[in-house]
């Protein structure tokens, strides 16, 4: 069905980021399911197949986002995954999914560094959900 709402899984341990992003994405016509932890997200994934996933890299474990991205891609390679992280600005670590080689182990389609402008996030989402 053409008009069916795209369903996005949004995972972050920052409740304020979840509430704010969810509110804004809903305005743009997406259906949003949120999870606050790796475990909660895994539970959600048993119940539905998201059209796209937005994951925070650093949750209870420093690489929880990576692990989750890996699981999602293993389950269904076609689900676009956007990793969101404050890591770059806080620790000086830089990640990008520029090369194919990196893409093969990072298992994410895009990286966005916090603080994220909503327009930027929306542009990324539209890029992966255009059809």
């Amino acid at each position: 069905m053409e008009n069916e709402k795209k369903h996005i899984l949004l995972v972050d341990d920052d409740i304020d980021f979840l509430i704010q992003t969810k509110t804004q994405l809903k305005v743009h016509g997406f259906e949003i399911t949120t999870a606050e932890s790796l475990q909660e997200a895994e539970e959600m994934l048993k119940k539905f197949r998201p059209d796209l996933a937005i994951l925070d890299l650093m949750m209870e474990h420093s690489d929880a986002g990576f692990a989750l991205a890996y699981h999602i891609k293993k389950k269904d390679e076609s689900i676009p995954v956007i990793l969101v992280t404050a890591v770059a600005s806080e620790t000086g670590l830089e990640f990008d999914v520029a090369t194919n080689e990196e893409r093969s182990w990072v298992k994410a389609d895009a990286f966005l560094a916090k603080p994220i402008r909503f327009e930027q996030l929306l542009a990324e989402i539209k890029k992966y959900l255009k059809d």
Binding site: D13, D16, Q20, Q24, E36, P115
Partner: protein, 374 residues
């Protein structure tokens, strides 16, 4: 064994070789340092060679003859700039006048050896110089570490202060653009979260002021004899409204009135932190049991809750600054991440200790042991 690189600058080859021989098998120990120190001796027979060697690879110790063919030892000293704790210089001289001594010290010489000297004299002088050098290095290292800890603290603090501002700003922007609807009620969750973040920020600032006051030692300590129960009851009263809301029972047990010599405001901060944590991290309808007692000249205060508890890994990180145990169970709990750092600092003022026993989803027990303030 660490070797201290030693350069002997003397135009008399005999002197160079003599010094080399005297230090070859000489080792020394320093109190407070584990390693033994030895000496690696290199020689230079002219000021020019010496300058080259010093520039290329700076020695730890420089033994410098006052009288050299092309320039004096003092002139040579003037040509090299020595950073603090980098190198120590001993002047060797046959005609030590007070004037030479003063000039040499001004240019950074540490000590003198008057020709002729015995190997034992040389070793004693070298030992003194090495000690001063190594202690200076250790001090510098400590200062650097302290500086780095401070820097880290400030950068984390900046982040901790910025994060609630970002959250509240985000909510206000959303309200401003009316994305959630036109009624105030549509924004109830955003308003509630904003208030929580603002309260959290206030708590952080208040804790920060407490911590600064304790650390700077500026706060005048007012020591007096108190009955511990009185302080504990006061702390219990401050958390009572929050405890009632969530049907948490607070109970104080002590076999006898416990007299304690302290600054009551300090003990109050400790009690406020422990008891408010025990309520905050408790489950609804839980219990907080406070037990006061004595143990070999110390008093003990145990605060036990029936809350979320801590894993072993979480317990280990507990007393670090800004560590807040973050999980879904704790997300709506206000905390600055400084409370237990403050407790620990105050406990140290009483030569005391803090014990933590905890089991996940069962509860935690914090026990503080304090000695009467001297």
């Amino acid at each position: 064994m660490e070797k201290l690189r030693t350069l002997v600058v003397d135009d008399e080859l005999g002197m160079c070789l003599g010094i080399k021989k005297a230090l070859r098998n000489y080792t020394m120990m320093l109190p407070g340092m584990e390693d033994e120190f030895g000496f690696d001796v290199d020689m230079a027979e002219s000021a020019e060679t010496a300058l080259e060697k010093i520039t290329e690879n700076r020695p730890d110790i420089l033994l410098l003859d006052y009288k050299l063919p092309s320039m004096s030892g003092l002139e040579l000293l003037e040509k090299i700039t020595v950073k603090d704790a980098e190198m120590v210089t001993i002047m060797i001289t046959a005609f030590a006048s007070l004037e030479t001594a003063v000039t040499a010290v001004k240019r950074g010489a540490f000590d003198f050896l008057a020709k002729p000297f015995e190997p034992a004299e040389l070793r004693a002088t070298i030992k003194k110089a090495a000690e001063s050098l190594l202690y200076a290095r250790q001090l510098r290292k400590l200062a650097l570490e302290k500086h780095q800890v401070r820097f880290q603290f400030i950068s984390v603090l900046g982040h901790e202060l910025k994060s609630p501002l970002n959250a509240v700003e985000g909510y206000l922007n959303l309200m401003d653009s009316r994305v959630g609807g036109d009624r105030v009620d549509d924004y109830q969750e955003m308003i509630a979260r904003s208030l929580i973040r603002i309260q959290g920020m206030r708590k952080l600032i208040l804790d920060l002021l407490d911590l600064t006051r304790i650390e700077s030692g500026q706060k005048k300590r007012e020591m007096q004899k108190v009955v511990l129960q009185d302080i504990v009851r006061k702390s219990m009263e401050t958390v009572l409204p929050d405890a009632r809301k969530r049907a948490i029972t607070l109970d104080l047990q002590a076999a006898e009135p416990i007299e304690f010599y302290c600054d009551p405001s300090e003990v109050e901060i400790v009690m406020n932190n422990l008891i408010s944590n025990a309520v905050k991290y408790n489950r609804d309808s839980g219990r907080v049991d406070i037990n006061l007692g004595r143990r070999d000249g110390e008093i003990s205060i145990a605060v036990k809750d029936t809350g979320v508890g801590l894993s072993k890994e979480e317990t280990a990180r507990l007393f670090q600054e800004f560590v807040r145990i973050k999980n879904s169970k704790t997300r709506n709990i206000l905390g600055s991440g400084l409370g237990l750092s403050i407790v620990k600092k105050i406990v140290q003022l009483y030569d005391g200790t803090v014990d933590v026993k905890s089991a996940e989803n069962v509860g935690s027990e914090f026990t503080v042991y304090l000695k009467n303030a001297a």
